[in-house]
Symmetry: C2
């Protein structure tokens, strides 16, 4: 692995660069971004998250929630009521993450049409469209 030769930033050595990449592998992931966003109004049950996040599989939601719990982004609470259920809630650190990801989510929503246009232009110009 190369260290960050081309990075003019004086801070963060190669070790921090590598660790940043690992952290981004968790929090900079579309499912993580969407889970964190859907917890913005307080605790949610697993089934509520499953319904709210278009296209996520049961397994992917389970894996994503476990990673975010491990990273200290959310807490998992088992409610021993009838019927029993599990809920998820952002930690204090999770709330700051949600704030940090909000601009990226807003950007994605605001630029949907321009990205569609760019893709159509690119695909018309090349014979080999990139799988999206």
């Amino acid at each position: 692995m190369d260290v960050a030769h081309g990075d003019p930033r004086p801070a963060a050595g190669p070790s921090d660069a590598c660790r940043t990449r690992v952290v981004l592998g968790i929090v900079g992931d579309k499912w993580s971004l969407l889970v964190v966003r859907n917890l913005r109004n307080g605790p949610r049950r697993f089934t509520e998250l499953k319904k709210a996040i278009d296209g996520i599989s049961q397994r992917m939601l389970t894996v994503t929630l476990r990673s975010l719990e491990r990273d200290g982004i959310l807490t998992r609470t088992v409610h021993n009521v009838m019927p029993p259920h599990v809920s998820y809630e952002l930690t204090e650190m999770g709330i700051t993450l949600r704030e940090a990801t909000a601009p990226l989510l807003e950007w994605s929503i605001a630029h949907l049409a321009r990205i569609d246009d760019a893709r159509a232009t690119y695909d018309a110009r090349t014979d080999t469209p990139v799988a999206s």
Copy 2:
């Protein structure tokens, strides 16, 4: 696929939710985030990006650059000099994306230590650490 029943936001219907997910699949990806970040000071050559982004493979960098070019985030320029080379530069839209991702990158760097602590606590509590 379920529509976003649990989402109290009145805007964006299921179609937009699905398209947002597709866009996040491209821009909300650790390699895309790192490529965009490394173009913040102007055009960079392929080899400069490869050196600057710790751990990225030649193939993953190629795929990431092509996706970002297709989405209108960056432009690719072939320089017919000796030796010939290719450079990449953020478009106007790419610059706004970089601004939108900056808080998430800063958050990741700022919270490295707390996430490490949370992982250690979680792994000590459970017998089955999550692969990171």
